[in-house]
Every structure is written in C-alpha cells, then in structure tokens.
C-alpha cells in the first residue's frame, strides 16, 4: 500500500555544539490538555539554557508569539488530545510541516482525562458521540443559572464527537508517556533527538503512563 504521501523529512542534522550552525527547529503544541506537560517542560530549569543554545523554539505557547504554525519544523512536542475542530486542524497542519511528531504526555497518547467525556456518549469506539452529552452535562444539567449551550460560530471551535488520541488523526513518530512526563524523561528524549538518534529508542523508565 503506497497511498500515503511521503512524510516531510527532517532536513536538520545535529551540529557539533557551539559551532554556530543551524539549530533544531522545535515546536511545542498545546491541544486539549491541562498544559501540565508544558509545565513539566519548564521543569527542565537550568537545562533550558543549554537547550536554548541548540534549538530554536519556532512555535510554542511558552516561548513564542507566532500564531500560525510555521513551515519546516524539525520536531514538534504535541501535548493534549484532539477534542475540537481547532485541535484537528492544527494537528493536520503541523503534520504536513513537521519532520518528527512526538505525542507528548498521556493526553496526546491516549486522550487520557479529556477523553473521559467519551464515556458520556454511546459505548464503543467509533459509535455514537459525546459532544452534545458533555455540553448538556456542563452547561445545562450542572448550570447554576442561565442554562444554555455556548454558541459562537467562527469564534468557539466545535467539539468533535469523540476525543481522540493524536495518532488517531495523524501519523505520530514517537510517544512520550506520563501525566505529565517528568522533566528528566523530557530531557532524555530531547538529548537523544539532539544526538541525532533515529529512531529514538526510549528505555523502559521513559515509558510509564500516569
């Protein structure tokens, strides 16, 4: 089967440290998640300074004001599940523009807590949806006053019927579990990427969920 268009290839190869050669173009993306994975990223603390010498953060809720996902990104750390139309559009667009996509944390990997709203819909993957059910629960059943659905077409993105893990909507190259992944685990991944390891082999210690 060769229907799939080729994935973008990372043009970047690891430079020797400090020689002024191009840095790795890194994006961090926040979909349906609590931003805890990004907080854990900040837990890298002083390692962030080392990292800054080696990477350019080209898109991130933390360190960039860029609103449109740029072209030719080497690595994207994607936090969060795919829960609404904006998440889906961003996921698809980043896939087209990124060499290596990492599902960053349990929400991106398994839909995790955001995915719990899938329990409100009809059981069974792919059958039924939970969008109306979760709005009903949140904005009508549990409303203290003025129950009603939020509606602002074009401003508020529509909920998808089901919350999906990232790999359900785009091909993903690497998974880094954890809720959130602890900073040492993130560092191990980034260091492996900076060393140019492809494919990155994570040890057992890097894999625990939760």
């Amino acid at each position: 089967m060769s229907h799939s268009p080729p994935l973008p290839q990372a043009s970047w190869s690891p430079p020797p440290p400090g020689d002024g050669s191009p840095k790795l173009r890194l994006a961090t993306v926040w979909l349906a998640g609590c931003s805890g994975c990004h907080m854990a990223f900040l837990d890298l603390d002083e390692e962030l300074f080392e990292l800054a010498k080696r990477v350019d953060i080209v898109y991130s809720p933390l360190a960039s004001d860029v609103k449109v996902y740029p072209e030719a990104v080497d690595v994207a750390l994607v936090e969060g599940a795919v829960a609404n139309s904006d998440n889906l559009a961003l996921a698809r667009s980043l896939r087209r523009r990124t060499g290596l996509v990492v599902s960053f944390g349990d929400c991106a990997i398994s839909a995790n807590v955001p995915g719990l709203r899938n329990l409100l819909g009809a059981p069974g993957a792919g059958s039924g949806g939970s969008a109306a059910a979760v709005l009903e629960r949140g904005y009508v059943e549990l409303a203290d006053s003025q129950p009603g659905y939020p509606r602002a077409p074009g401003i508020l993105p529509e909920l998808l019927e089901r919350v999906l893990p990232l790999h359900a909507v785009i091909p993903v190259d690497l998974w880094l579990p954890g809720c959130p992944p602890p900073a040492p685990r993130i560092l191990a991944l980034l260091q492996a990427l900076l060393r140019g390891e492809r494919p990155v082999q994570l040890g057992a210690a890097e894999l625990q969920f939760g």
């Binding site: 807590v113 819909g121 359900a168 625990q208 969920f209």
Partner: protein, 244 residues
C-alpha cells in the same frame, strides 16, 4: 520428587517434576509478564501474557498452566512472542477505562508495570470507553470495574482462600464483569467477611481500600502465597523471613 531438566532461551534449567513452565522460566531468572497468575491461587491461563514457545508445539503455551517435561526446549523472547505480548497489553488498555493519571493504584499497578515491561508507548487499538458503574457500597472497600482486567484473582482468592465465593463473573465476552453475590451491591452480600483478600490480590486499582486516595503502600499481593504456604506447612511466618 524427581527433577526435570529443560532448556529456556538456551540455558539449562532444573526444576522439580510437576513444576510449571512459569516456575521453570522464573527459576532461570526470566521475568515472564503475568497478570491473571498469582502465587497461591489456582492458575487459569486467561491473560495469555506468559506465553512461551515450545519447540515442536504448534502454538504458544501459557506457561502458568503448562507442566514442565524433561527435555523441553522453550523460548520466551522470540519477536513473535514479544509482539503478541505487546498487543495483548494494548488490548487490555483499550477494553477498559484505564486512566493512570486518576487511578488510586498509579505507581503500584501490575498492568502499568506490564505495559512498561512490554514497551507499550501507545495503543494501536482505539479505546472502547465501556460504561461501567462503581460499587462503593462496602464500608471499607470499593470496586471500580473501569479498571478491571477480568483476571479473576479476586474470584479465586475469595473462593479458594476465604471460602466465601462472594465474587464471580457475569455475562460473557466483552460484557463480562465481576459481580458480588447474585449481582448485588457488595455491602448486601452477607457471605463477605471483609477480609480484604480480593483487594490484596487485585493487580490494578479495580479493588481498593476506601481510605487510600493513592496507594502509598503496595497491596499485599504476596498474601495469597503466604496463606497457601501456611496451610501446607501448618505454620505461619507472616511476612518475616522464613524460620531458620
């Protein structure tokens, strides 16, 4: 008692006759993953994670329910077995609602550990999100079937160790669920002695103590083995070292 020698992953192993393949592998230092198996309870061969390949056999064998025989040549680590085990763990995650982040057993869960052991970084199979309701009627314990993997350790612990047979499995296939008594709220089952052996046997957070918000000490999963041994030797060593 006779001794049987066999080969596991190329290494010669000697075990007492009557030993299982699982015992043989473990005595060879090979950590086969298991979920339904618990030392001290009768084996059922249901989780299919301890599969091994026996030279000359048509299909993999569940090591926990297969008896060792002289001259067997076993492999526990072929690419096929590694692949099957990882798929099995993915199927476990996909069939229930296993959300480690909000689970009382996060950090001391055998399913979580097995996922690490088989290198499961994500599930290729979509999660099913079954709708299951929690039974918190018991004053001390709760049953959260969302985290249940149907290993039936609780069923066997209650039946074989406590003799109460509070637990059993209802329905079939993917509708299977653990029920108390005649599908009653747990608290209404008079046979329950509140001994907690089911809770100690549970590999996940499906059965837990109500005063645990997060399991700080591991459940006493060795309890079944200790009890079995105590009954066989007619002496009790609790959790201390065996008597000299």
């Amino acid at each position: 008692m006779g001794v049987i020698t066999l080969s596991v992953n190329g290494a010669a192993v000697a075990v007492p006759s009557g030993a299982t393949l699982l015992a043989a592998c473990r005595s060879a230092g090979i950590a086969l993953p298991t979920l339904c198996y618990l030392e001290g309870l009768s084996p059922v061969g249901a989780c299919r994670l301890c599969l091994v390949e026996l030279e000359g056999a048509g299909r993999p064998l569940a090591a926990c329910v297969s008896e060792a025989a002289e001259g067997m040549v076993l492999r526990t680590d072929t690419p096929q077995l590694v692949n099957f085990r990882r798929m099995g763990v993915e199927l476990f995650f996909a069939e229930g609602n296993h959300v480690c982040a909000i689970c009382v057993a996060n950090g001391c869960c055998e399913l979580q550990d097995v996922a690490v052991a088989v290198g499961m970084d994500h599930s290729r199979f979509p999660y099913r999100y079954p709708q299951r309701s929690v039974d918190a009627s018991h004053p001390l314990f709760s049953l959260d079937p969302n985290r249940c993997i149907l290993c039936t350790r609780c069923v066997r612990a209650c039946d074989e160790l406590e003799g109460a047979h509070v637990w059993d499995v209802a329905e079939r296939g993917s509708h299977c669920r653990i029920v108390a008594g005649l599908d009653q709220p747990w608290a209404e089952v008079e046979a329950c002695t509140s001994c907690g052996q089911c809770v100690d046997a549970c590999p996940t957070g499906a059965l837990f103590r109500k005063d645990d918000t997060n399991v700080t000490s591991h459940p006493q999963r060795q309890r079944a083995a200790l009890l079995q041994e105590a009954r066989q030797r007619h002496s009790w060593r609790n959790q201390g070292p065996p008597p000299p």
